[in-house]
Symmetry: C2
Subunit: 146 residues, 2 copies
DNA sequence: AAAAATGTAACTAATATTGTTACTGTATGG
DNA sequence: CCATACAGTAACAATATTAGTTACATTTTT
């Protein structure tokens, strides 16, 4: 259980909400779609809410709904909300101060890691949540036909 | 101890070898530079050797050396050697077969994940090991001057 | 007041990463 | 020929993260 699937789950959750505009969707409903526990969903909802992608409402008829139009949300927004960890980690040990290479390694890697992270981010910015929903709608209707 | 630093360590190792062309470098020497245990180094050496980036020699005067010129090796080659895991993980649970969205989610995410991975890879291909070594050499000489 | 929702804390199980010890096999040098 | 220094690898411990679960407080509607 190491590679983190929160981005996939968050995109799933956001897509489900985008397909029910104006409706409040419960964590229990979302958990059934994800085949997991409602608390797992609520943890992700909480992160998405924190960055303003959705709003929740407590109480008997409560639930969550998108805070913006699906066309105004990119997958990068979702990625950022749930995946704050750095892509790459540096050597966790202190540099060996008697080794010049060891002392300079991190500062040489920094811009390389930053560029890679930036390339990844730009790629995710190209897809909007509305694009995902469109693809899902197409696939779902064609699988229903089959 | 979760985010994986093998790419940073492997780049460090490859750089150290690139700065001693023709020499066999021991895992003990590399471990001192990384401030870690020789076995940690040998595990990474083993992965780099598996993909043909370096060659090792056993015995009293043994060690490791690059199998190609530093200008013929990109950081992507190193990344691939040590970081085989996927960048993103899918929801580990089975899809809920009574939910069309749930059933189609993975196939919609697949090309998105692939594009992001590709963008990352292309970014890493832009830097050659020789570029890293040049930057290190500059930084090391200027820090020595200071 | 009951019911159904959010929000969150605390715990478990599984897994990954790093470091360590201990050992085998190999090649060199005296 | 044999001690030495290396690679290679298995086994284990410490730590951290992820996902799932239980439990409970709070909020809102009916």
């Amino acid at each position: 259980m190491a590679a983190n699937s929160r981005f996939a789950m968050a995109t799933h959750i956001m897509s489900a909400m985008a397909m029910k505009p104006g409706e409040l969707v419960s964590s229990t409903f979302l958990a059934e779609s994800l085949n997991t526990n409602p608390v797992v969903v609520r943890r992700i909802l909480s992160e998405l809410q924190r960055v303003g992608l959705l709003a929740t409402q407590a109480g008997r008829t409560g639930g969550a709904e998108l805070a913006k139009k699906a066309s105004a949300i990119t997958l990068y927004d979702i990625y950022q909300a749930v995946d704050e960890g750095e892509l790459f980690a540096y050597n966790p040990n202190d540099p060996n101060r008697s080794c010049a290479l060891s002392c300079e390694m991190k500062s040489v890697l920094e811009p390389i890691f930053a560029s890679a992270q930036e390339a990844l981010s730009e790629s995710l910015k190209k897809t909007r949540l509305s694009d995902v929903v469109e693809k899902l709608a197409k696939r779902c209707s064609s699988s229903r036909r089959a």
